[in-house]
């Protein structure tokens, strides 16, 4: 008899040890484009999480009927359907939230994290495992984007979630560089190196 894999691990691994952004290095495009402020970073994370969870559920449900040679187009149709549903639903029932997230929603279609989890996990695992995986990866992705948003907003505007946290002098002459894509690249590199340092320590 095979040992049952510890299911909780699918959930917890996504948060730190297999963090999509900082360890697996997927979903980098939205990380660069949408983390100029803390609110935008968390907003993008939450919107992508919804689509990731829905698409993982559906892909794991239909995986036995999907021909392996055309699975990618099928995944993309499923993902873009959920993106469109999220777009309409937010616009109709949560206009306030849509004002914040609306700009990011079309970007989710091209978020390789979602296709990556559909192909790399949901296609070969059951529904429950896929939901756990999606939840864990969503939390990891949202936290990573939020962290980047907080740091970039702190440097580039001297605020966090719009609240001033640095002396007024800094807010007048902030590090504007951090708000542009090169600043995001630099920050990802720094975060990645910190994570590497920490994880290597753990292993030895």
């Amino acid at each position: 008899m095979r040992k049952k894999p510890p299911r909780l691990k699918y959930f917890t691994s996504g948060i730190v040890l297999e963090n999509p952004l900082l360890i697996l290095m997927i979903g980098l495009c939205p990380a660069l484009a949408t983390t100029a402020s803390a609110r935008d970073g968390f907003g993008m994370g939450i919107a992508a999480s919804f689509v990731l969870i829905c698409s993982n559920i559906v892909v794991s449900l239909v995986r036995r009927w999907v021909p392996s040679s055309i699975r990618i187009p099928i995944f993309i149709i499923i993902i873009s359907s959920f993106v469109t549903i999220a777009d309409y639903a937010l616009q109709a029932y949560q206009p306030g939230l849509y004002q914040v997230l609306g700009i990011f929603i079309p970007l989710i279609v091209v978020n390789c994290m979602i296709l990556g989890r559909a192909e790399g996990f949901a296609y070969t695992h059951g529904v429950i495992d896929s939901i756990l995986d999606a939840l864990g990866k969503s939390i990891g992705f949202t936290l990573a984007l939020g962290l980047m948003g907080i740091i970039r907003e702190l440097f580039a505007a001297g605020t966090v979630f719009g609240f001033p946290v640095t002396p007024a002098g800094f807010r007048e002459q902030p590090v504007l560089f951090m708000i542009f894509p090169p600043g995001a690249f630099l920050l990802i590199g720094v975060l990645k190196s910190i994570i590497n340092k920490l994880t290597v320590k753990k292993e030895t």
Binding site: P67, I70, Q91, A92, Y93, L176
Partner: protein
Amino acid sequence: MVTETKTGWTDSRVWMVASLVIVCLVSALGLSQVYLVTKPQIEKQKADAVNQALGQVLPNAASFEEKEDGLWYGLDSAGNRVGIVFRCDPRGYAGPVETMVGVDLEARVTGIRIASPAEGMKETPGLGLKARDDWFRDQFKGLTADQVRLKKDGGTLDAISAATITSRAVAAGVADGIRKYAPRLKTDDAPEPDAKEDTAPEREGMR
């Protein structure tokens, strides 16, 4: 991935075509249903948003009457005109910056509102997008067309740091708009013929 070695009935050519057709059909049907259900609600939200924006930029008015695309008359509860609201799209750093401007009968700005990114605003987040912040917009209140100008251009407005292009665009759009629509403040419901001639050719380039 084990999928490369696995061959079964799902790999037949017929099923390949059929499965893709089914997925597309289900997706299209589902989306059209979602669209039909949400469409009236979305339109209502858009109309509400416009009304809310009108109320923000011309708070004295009790109701609004759309005169033409991008021009509203603000009326008080007795039906008298208290001002107008117009929309302008000055060219910012990354595209048009859609701005709604309320003007009272003395041709002074009562408030401005700048579209959000979800409404098509393309300015850089953290820079030009700060034109939406209250401190920037509130500076316009009470100014006439000649006063709506950045400090570095000889006016009274503080520019957004590192976003002078956007700041200047909004100021120019507001000032030009007031000059263009000022004749409409005095006229009755039917605009004077020459006033209409003045505005018509300019509008073509903007929309």
